[in-house]
């Protein structure tokens, strides 16, 4: 197996992937150190009507919003919400999607087929529509957004793993293990899963970017964390009332979404080149 150090070294040789990695590290640091980095941490949640809608200045780097809160500080704290949503949603999608893909790829009987058809049903509905339906029904909150995103994203992992496992099952070393009576669970854990890890890692990185984008869209539609939580999508949505005069309002959250999604996509593409040269940008990103 390629060591993590090898992968990192190769990744850093690719400028785009290195940039992606830097952006993501910055995102994580911003989320962790938000109270330290924020210039006005106290003003994230409170109202200060007197400082309402101030343009960018030395005190307020990206200006203030309609509540008079510092947009720079709010964007930093927003990184926490974004990161939590992305990690938990993609993590849950992994936990649901990968085992289902392993089982359906391995057992090519009616049961495996049934699992794949269920994933097809989820894929047939546009993700954002399904997520809106779920978030709308259950009410706007971070938990519901996470639920909506994980329920809609797992089929991507299932399809990916399913295809890989089907191909792997014909390899001689797998057939040999079957012939020697190695139990299925052990073959899957020791031979199949390590061989599908690379595409899973790549898809996870790209999926993080995609999930953040969808989460922001849902936030924009008012289905994410309720105010005054500093959710990036909602911040952009709020800014519409004050455009074009308060041009700075959407700048910081918009840039943040753009950079973070780009970061995950660049990293995902870079990882794909390093880990899985066979598919080289053949599959479209989602």
């Amino acid at each position: 197996m390629k060591t993590a150090r090898d992968v990192l070294a190769k990744l850093l040789r690719d400028p785009a992937a290195a940039l992606g990695l830097v952006i993501i590290i910055a995102l994580v640091l911003a989320a962790l150190l938000a109270p330290v980095l924020a210039t006005h941490p106290e003003a994230v949640w409170d109202m200060n009507p007197r400082q309402r809608l101030l343009p960018p200045s030395e005190t307020y780097l990206f200006g203030t919003d309609r509540m008079g809160a510092d947009i720079y500080s709010r964007t930093l704290f927003g990184a926490r919400i974004t990161l939590v949503i992305a990690i938990v949603a993609v993590g849950a999608a992994l936990v649901i999607g990968v085992p289902i893909g392993l089982v359906s790829g391995w057992r090519r009987n009616w049961f495996g087929e049934a699992l794949m058809r269920v994933s097809d049903i989820f894929l047939a509905v546009p993700q954002i529509v399904l997520a809106i339906a779920i978030a709308q029904t259950l009410g706007p909150s971070i938990e519901n957004i996470i639920l909506a995103l994980s329920v809609t994203y797992w089929p991507w992992f299932t399809r990916l793993v399913h295809a890989e496992v089907r191909a792997l099952k014909n390899e001689t070393f797998i057939e040999a293990a079957i012939a020697l009576g190695v139990p299925t669970w052990r073959i899957i854990l020791t031979h199949v899963l390590p061989n599908v890890m690379s595409p899973i890692i790549v898809r996870t990185s790209i999926g993080m970017g995609f999930t953040i984008l969808t989460a922001s869209a849902l936030g924009f539609l008012g289905l994410s964390a309720p105010p005054p939580a500093p959710e990036w999508g909602r911040m952009i949505s709020e800014s519409r009332e004050f455009l074009p005069e308060a041009w700075w309002y959407a700048l910081a959250p918009g840039l943040a979404i753009f950079l973070v999604v780009m970061g995950f996509n660049l990293l995902g593409d870079g990882l794909r080149d390093v880990l899985d040269p066979r598919i080289r940008r053949a599959a479209g990103g989602r």
Partner: protein, 344 residues
């Protein structure tokens, strides 16, 4: 215990059919095959004649849609088809019968060093493994006793040296892709001999390799098998390869064996018309390439009688009626033909 001169492997009247959409395809239709201890048996025939299916049937790895419909596979006196699959998997496969696959590229898991993978096999299939150790690979917890591990490692290193892999110690830490196809096949030979089996099934082990490498691998396999007294079932579609390595040869045609003979006899005095035509189809500097007219029969609805009769210039009336019985000639030459070619 069977007597010492008994056959190691006896396949008798074996039927295997595949369920297909247009009905069952009788891929093996009453096949007979014997292998004596220490003998290299060549199984030759065109693609699709059932060589690999026969090898897989012996290994118990026939495809899901295949069904063994009758016959016996007797290995050292025991019918493998009647034994419990778990017993076969634990005590026979990988220990007393081992396997060299056709494609050396897929035979190792690409992610792990070959030493680790070979030791994983030795953990379960080492000849030094005592019967008292946990029964099989299906055990949840499994120990690898340290003393045996050391012995197995020594044996592994010695074997890797024997198959002429340079720098054996370093080689063990390398990943499969760092070896050439020929080296990988050498490693597979090493792995197949390490459990000290009685029978090695080599399914076209040189087909995927360069011609120059083929000869080396064949020599190596032959030498090691002869030194150790291991029987080999060697399937190939290449008659030249069979001539190089085999003691006896069995020809298959459309799921049935048609002729079995010691290798010299086989190439010198072929008796079945199919064998004759097969040998004539080899490239020869003094004559034009001759192909066998007609087509390989469909196995879903095969010709009645001798399956070769529609393409046979010597076919008689009875060839269309029933499958010819085995006619034993001198020196272990057996042929299934009503009108065999007899040298004058």
């Amino acid at each position: 215990m069977p007597p010492a001169d008994a056959n190691l492997l006896e396949v008798e009247n074996l039927f295997v059919s595949f369920a297909t959409e247009s009905g069952p395809a009788r891929v093996l239709d009453g096949v007979n095959l014997t292998i004596r201890p220490g003998e290299i048996m060549g199984l030759v025939g065109e693609s699709g004649c059932g060589k690999t299916t026969l090898a897989n049937a012996i290994l118990g790895t026939i495809a899901k849609n295949a069904r063994t419909a009758g016959g016996t596979i007797r290995f050292a006196g025991e019918n493998l088809l009647a034994l419990r699959p778990r017993v076969v998997a634990n005590d026979v496969l990988g220990r007393r019968i081992t396997y060299i696959p056709q494609d050396p590229y897929g035979s190792f898991n690409p992610l792990f060093p070959i030493g680790k993978q070979m030791m994983e096999v030795m953990k379960w299939k080492s000849p030094r493994r005592a019967a008292s150790e946990t029964r099989g690979v299906s055990g949840f917890f499994s120990r690898y006793p340290r003393a045996r591990r050391r012995e197995d490692e020594a044996a592994l290193l010695a074997m890797i040296r024997t198959v002429q892999i340079p720098n054996p110690e370093e080689a063990l830490a390398k990943l499969p892709h760092e070896f050439s196809g020929g080296q990988r096949q050498r490693l597979m030979i090493a792995l197949s001999l390490l459990p000290q089996p009685q029978l090695v099934i080599a399914d076209e082990p040189t087909t995927a390799l360069d011609a120059t490498i083929q000869a080396q691998i064949l020599k190596l396999l032959k030498r090691l098998a002869k030194e150790r007294g291991v029987s080999v079932l060697f399937t190939t579609h290449d008659l030249g390869t069979a001539y190089e390595i085999c003691d006896r040869v069995t020809v298959m045609y459309a799921g049935q064996e048609v002729e079995t003979a010691p290798v010299e006899d086989f190439f010198g005095r072929p008796q079945h018309p199919y064998t004759v035509r097969l040998l004539e189809s080899l490239p020869h500097p003094e004559r034009e390439l001759r192909e066998i007219g007609g087509e390989i029969p469909a196995l879903i609805d095969p010709p009645i009688g001798c399956r070769f009769h529609p393409r046979c210039s010597r076919a008689l009336a009875e060839c269309r009626a029933a499958r010819p019985p085995i006619t034993a000639g001198g020196g272990g030459h057996q042929v299934r033909c009503y009108n065999p070619v007899r040298a004058a």
